[in-house]
């Protein structure tokens, strides 16, 4: 008796874990779309797919998904549009709080807060997702377009974000990240990797933002110590939009015309990118400039490498106080790489640069020092040695398998 009961229980457990019973929940736009779509997202079981027919879904509230292993699939980022123009509540258009979720082939337009946020949602895939604030850059737009946070395993591929008043694609407090083949335009920050580790940012087209690709670490957060970031094969071109972030945000201090900016991070490698027409600096490497009270925080850049890249015709109209005079002092145009001169000290180098590239330094003497006290001069950065082993960086391979 006992034995057979046990067998039955085991069988039930097996059936529950088998994805072979996966169902498709099909949703179409029109009357009651908010409730029908939200209900599908709630009633889906692990392994199921929520299929969004083509069309425009007029949504009045944020949506959320809290079931592991669900795929939400539209008919393409130009065809299936989740329209949040009349959103009345929630901090984002779509919130995902479960693991192993795939979001693909749909668009989110005009969310009041963030576009799609995934929090504590491990192994998530964003594929052919578009988040657009259709009125173009505006301080009244939401903050982040694609926003995974506190997650291990993030793959953003073939996606597109424009108009975010903070960052288009923003990955925070996460690890094992790949952001690739995506377009970020007309955001304050195009792509931002913040307080995160083991990230690969590759093959993206990043243009007309205020700053292109940002790699930051900030204090007073549960996850700090950002590092291990590879930035390669990106086109970071003409990031020339005036900063439209509301004041107070850390990105509000990003200068118009910043290509790649690394702040307070370790082991960041830039290679084979095309960085051009970014009017302040193609590459900027700095320490966290503000005051902070957090003994666990390291405000300095450590081991940032500018390897072989194409550094183009930028740095000619810097968004810096006295920029014109500075440019004149350097012969009409600033060198493409800017360092604030600050490092941790000891044997930890802040910045290493390919010997072919020119740079300049503010020669600041201490963290938090004001820019007015800078004593600009040519950069004499050491060359770098061998490349690093990056086998453990980037999204786990099993996330790739979902892109079929």
């Amino acid at each position: 008796m006992h034995k057979s009961l046990f067998a039955a229980a085991a069988l039930t457990a097996l059936v529950a874990a088998t994805p072979a019973l996966a169902e498709t929940h099909r949703v179409s736009p029109g009357e009651g779309a908010q409730e029908r779509l939200q209900e599908a997202l709630i009633l889906a079981e692990p392994g199921d797919e929520v299929l969004l027919d083509a069309g425009r879904y007029a949504l009045t509230d944020g949506l959320s998904l809290d079931v592991d292993g669900v795929t939400v699939r539209g008919a393409g980022p130009a065809a299936t549009i989740l329209d949040f123009s009349t959103q009345q509540a929630a901090g984002e258009g779509l919130l995902v709080t479960s693991d192993d979720v795939t979001l693909r082939d749909f668009a989110v337009e005009n969310p009041k807060g963030d576009g799609i946020k995934s929090k504590d949602a491990d192994n998530i895939v964003y594929y052919r997702i578009r988040v657009t604030w259709t009125g173009g850059p505006a301080a009244t737009n939401g903050a982040y377009g694609i926003y995974p946070v506190e997650s291990t395993g993030v793959l953003v591929d073939a996606s597109e974000v424009s108009g975010a008043s903070d960052a288009g694609i923003y990955v925070g407090q996460s690890s094992k990240i790949t952001v690739r083949n995506s377009v970020a335009s007309e955001n304050v920050a195009g792509i931002e990797i913040e307080n995160s580790r083991d990230a690969i940012v590759e093959g993206n087209f990043v243009t007309r933002n205020t700053g292109g690709i940002l790699v930051f670490d900030l204090p007073n957060l549960p996850v700090m110590g950002g590092g291990n970031v590879l930035i390669r094969n990106n086109l970071v071109i003409a990031n020339d939009t005036d900063n439209f972030a509301p004041e107070g945000n850390i990105v509000a201090s990003v200068r118009r015309g910043t290509g790649v900016m690394v702040m307070a991070n370790e082991n960041v490698w830039l290679q084979d990118n095309v960085l051009t027409d970014n009017a302040t600096a193609e590459v900027m490497v700095i320490a966290y400039p503000l005051s902070f009270d957090d003994p666990d925080y390291n405000p300095y850049p450590r081991d940032v490498v500018v390897a072989t890249n194409t550094l183009g015709e930028g740095s000619d109209n810097p968004d810096i106080e006295g920029g014109e005079m500075l440019a004149a002092a350097f012969g009409g145009k600033l060198p493409p790489i800017l360092w604030d001169g600050l490092s941790e000290g000891g044997d930890r180098t802040a910045l290493m640069v390919h010997p072919d590239y020119a740079g300049w330094t503010l020669n600041l003497q201490r963290q938090g020092q004001r820019l007015e006290e800078a004593q600009p001069g040519p950069l004499d950065a050491p060359a770098y040695g061998q490349g690093w082993n990056i086998d453990d960086w980037g999204a786990p391979a099993e996330l790739e398998a979902r892109l079929k």
Partner: protein, 338 residues
């Protein structure tokens, strides 16, 4: 004022329950299995929200969560032979088969509550399940709305200001957004020293079934008690309204802002803490809490907004809680850096 009203209303309810016909027992199977489509399937109420089964234990909270000035009636259903445990922080651990029941509504004629919805939290073998039920027009029953809904509501707040809002019944996921610790659903209200039992003898009856921690559990200041120190009142208010997300285990764990911890000159309280992912919700201000400067503090800016991209909390609030904002403003205003 609000707290007193709620208490009086609960007492009235309790009396009504006694006068009602002998109740059918609560259907324990509905508490333990499936997602019943109708609230009547449980047997918690006898033909309407004003007639709770007499086995339900009404309770209130010293510092309730603000929900658009809605009145709330809370009840506990305990299974037969239930034993409860109170943790070192006062959090009550309920046994399988427990239901926590909370009705939301606005004052109607003659001191009754015009109930809109009733949310239930069911303690099952595999954890807690949160489900929202919306009452029909004649209050004969309430239907499960897993995807939530919006209902137009008109009411007058305690200051006499009239409001017309689109009242939001949360969907099942939104229930979890607040009722979540480490990604698992958990009750947030029932903390022993914060619970008020309006019906005579209930506190003693529950206590008889409960194991308590050895240390003393002291109740927190009421947020609306003018005689309590302002920092304690603000702390109570922020704990009741923010800490379910803003804790190290909650939905806002990534913010580094934690209101279940001691309030004071600490970054986790927002004290000179710069915004991280606030976006435009920063309002152009530098700090979450700028001591001495409530009008320049992001915390106040977000409490005062109803814009979904700015407002805190993110769900469950379409009006500004003027009285609550005033308490937090006063606290920030009296703090002058340290």
């Amino acid at each position: 004022m609000i707290a007193r009203l709620a208490l009086a209303a609960s007492l009235a309810l309790a009396t009504a329950a006694v006068a009602a016909p002998r109740p059918a027992p609560v259907d324990q199977a509905a508490v333990l299995e499936g997602m019943p489509r109708s609230l009547s399937d449980y047997g918690f109420f006898l033909g309407g929200p004003d007639h709770p089964a007499e086995t339900l234990i009404p309770y209130a909270l010293r510092n309730p969560l603000f929900s658009d000035y809605a009145e709330k009636h809370r009840f506990i259903h305990l299974p037969d032979g239930a034993r409860l445990t109170v943790g070192p922080d006062g959090r009550v651990d309920f046994p399988v088969g427990t239901a926590l029941i909370k009705s939301f509504g606005y004052d109607g004629e003659g001191g009754t509550l015009d109930v809109i919805e009733t949310r239930v939290l069911l303690r099952r073998e595999d954890g807690w399940l949160a489900l929202p039920y919306v009452w029909n027009q004649d209050h004969s029953d309430a239907a499960l709305k897993v995807a939530g809904t919006r209902i137009p509501v008109a009411f007058t707040d305690p200051s006499g200001e009239a409001h017309r809002i689109s009242y939001a019944v949360p969907n099942k996921n939104q229930c979890k957004q607040c009722h979540s610790r480490n990604g698992v659903i958990a009750p947030i209200g029932p903390v022993w020293q914060e619970m008020v039992f309006p019906r005579e003898g209930d506190r003693e009856r529950v206590a008889e079934r409960t194991s308590f921690p050895p240390n003393t559990l002291s109740p927190s200041a009421r947020w609306d008690d003018p005689d309590a120190p302002i920092a304690a009142r603000a702390g109570s208010y922020l704990r009741a309204n923010c800490a379910h997300c803003h804790s190290r285990e909650g939905a806002a764990s990534n913010s580094g802002l934690y209101y279940d911890e001691a309030l004071g000159p600490y970054a986790v309280s927002g004290w000179r803490k710069r915004p991280v992912a606030a976006g435009r919700a920063s309002g152009g201000f530098e700090y979450v809490v700028d001591p001495g400067k409530p009008s320049q503090s992001i915390l106040i800016h977000r409490m005062k907004s109803v814009d979904p991209g700015i407002a805190m909390p993110e769900i469950g609030r379409a009006t500004v809680h003027k009285e609550g904002v005033a308490v937090v403003e006063e606290w920030i205003g009296t703090e002058t850096g340290r």
